[in-house]
Amino acid sequence: MNVEVTPLPGIGTRQDFMIRAGRRIGVITHRDGKFELIVSSKDDPDDCSASIALTPAEAGTLAGLLGAPQLVAHLEEQHRDVAGISTRQFPIVPGSTFDGRTLGETELRTRTGASIVAVVRAGTVHPSPRPDFTFTGADLVVVVGTAEGLAKTADILDG
């Protein structure tokens, strides 16, 4: 992907690229560390139809949301040789059963045979979380297992 870096004197840097849908999408990094997400307007490629100010934490969360599929794809690649095994991600919905409870309490391994290989939180990947890992709302749980095991996992984590 060809990311264009443009200095904005007195303000910071603009980094953006053209996506296949024909729009320019990118990030302005302000000198004081703030981020701005920009999306060019449909009918005027010079203009922006959205420029959204993000705190570093918010930018990290967004990056995690967008980065998680890539992580899943990567794991998928690794398990491709093993027939019948696949990888899926499940969000911990804030306020749901496991928001605030530990990985061990899900008893996922015993109940479904599937295992949690990573948790994505606010843009950071926590690989191979231990049983005492405590979930919080908006975590993304990456699970590897059989189709049946993953279906059961969905029931448990949604509950």
Partner: protein, 393 residues
């Protein structure tokens, strides 16, 4: 003690009043500068309520205001940004100078203010307000637009042009001969080169000199250094403002960012005082006679700035709407036009009417600039829909 009480009440009333004006200004989407000027006109000589006993304070506060305005202008761009900006946008910068300095200079010559007055008025109509423009671009969510780097690089060039212009203006105002003027140009070119080289090569040492992890120590050191440099520069007849400006350029990197963050509120406070004092010293009765001229000048220089932005954006392959936006964004004039006018008036070397014309002009342009930036898009779209000539204003 009684005098102190009166002075405090007066100052408090002035600041509180300015606060209310500022709040009102941003609410309706314009810069508070014109309102501060009007505030100053309302008090003072020939105004409604003359102030007494705080002149000493307001005088020095407004001097500090100019120093901080210029120091932060210098801090705004790093030396590297200035150099790359100069390389990239010098053609647009030259077009900007020619188109926008000429109307002011011609107006001054027609009025018979002579070459000195022409030089001062050229600066007043040339320099855009980077403060107003950066704020408006941010507010309108245009920082990600493709034409925005074009607008910013024109401002960077103006920044450098100021570094050359201010020492020359100061020398000419001090009444030096043509030869002396030439040597002032030489000296200022030399000073800028030296400062840029220092900032590029040894910037970290200058920064280390004023830097400190403790905010209180840092604030005192930066402010102290600025006033010291400004004072020495003033003693050397180079104008305090220029000294502060060059110091701002020399400080770079994270030190510059911290200094900007720390000094911004102080600058806003003292700069507000500067605008009020400038208004105070301008007799409101002197405004109406020059009003028609100010309107004409505003009209012409709005078109010339739009043309500058249009041309610069076109060279970068920006579409018609983007060109119109770039042009309109550059229209605002403000703080630096007033700084130039105040330097000229304080020297006594120019016609007293210059202050009145500059005040009226900035009153118009500081309001017109943000409004132009806002209405340009709907206006351009409307004109295009009607199938008439593409909008240029």
């Amino acid at each position: 003690m009684h005098n102190t009480a009166i002075a405090l009440v007066q100052l408090g009333a002035v600041f509180f009043g300015l606060g209310l004006l500022g709040k009102m200004a941003w609410r309706i989407g314009i810069s508070p500068i014109p309102l501060y000027l009007i505030g100053g006109l309302a008090f003072g000589q020939g105004g409604l309520v003359p102030l007494h006993g705080i002149e000493d304070f307001t005088h020095i506060a407004s001097e500090i205001g100019v120093i901080l305005l210029l120091l932060l202008l210098g801090l705004e761009y790093s030396a590297a940004e200035l150099v790359t900006g100069l390389k990239r946008s010098w053609t647009a910068g030259v077009v900007d100078i020619v188109l926008n300095a000429a109307p002011g200079a011609i107006a001054a010559l027609i009025l018979g203010w002579g070459p000195v007055g022409a030089l001062a008025m050229a600066g007043v109509t040339y320099i855009s307000s980077s403060g107003i423009i950066a704020k408006v671009l941010g507010d309108l969510g245009r920082l990600g637009n493709r034409e925005t780097p074009v607008v910013l690089s024109v401002l960077v060039f103006e920044d450098l042009a100021m570094a050359l212009y201010l020492p020359i203006l100061t020398a000419v105002l001090a009444g030096v001969s043509f030869l002396g003027g030439l040597s002032a140009v030489g000296v200022s070119l030399l000073a800028i080169t030296v400062v840029l080289v220092i900032a590029l090569r040894f910037g970290k040492y200058v920064s280390a000199l004023v830097d400190s992890p403790d905010p209180e120590v840092f604030l005192l050191k930066v402010l102290g250094a600025a006033l010291l440099v400004a004072g020495v520069a003033s003693q050397l007849q180079v104008s305090a403002a220029v000294g502060a400006f060059l110091l701002g350029i020399a400080i770079s990197g994270s030190t510059a960012e911290n200094a900007t963050r720390m000094l911004e509120p102080l600058r806003d406070l003292f700069a507000a005082m500067f605008f009020v004092v400038f208004g105070l010293n301008t007799d409101p009765a002197s405004i109406p006679p020059v009003l028609a001229l100010a309107v004409a000048l505003a009209f012409v220089t709005t078109l010339t700035k739009v043309a500058t932005g249009w041309w610069a954006a076109k060279r970068q392959g920006i579409g018609r709407l983007g060109r119109a936006r770039a042009g309109a964004a550059l229209v605002a004039r403000g703080e630096f036009s007033i700084v130039i006018a105040s330097l000229a008036v304080a020297s006594g070397g120019v016609d007293g009417e210059l202050a009145a014309l500059a005040t009226a002009y900035v009153l118009l342009m500081a309001v017109l600039g943000p409004v132009a930036a806002r209405v340009v898009e709907p206006l351009a779209k409307f004109t295009r829909k009607r199938g008439t000539e593409p909008a240029t204003a």
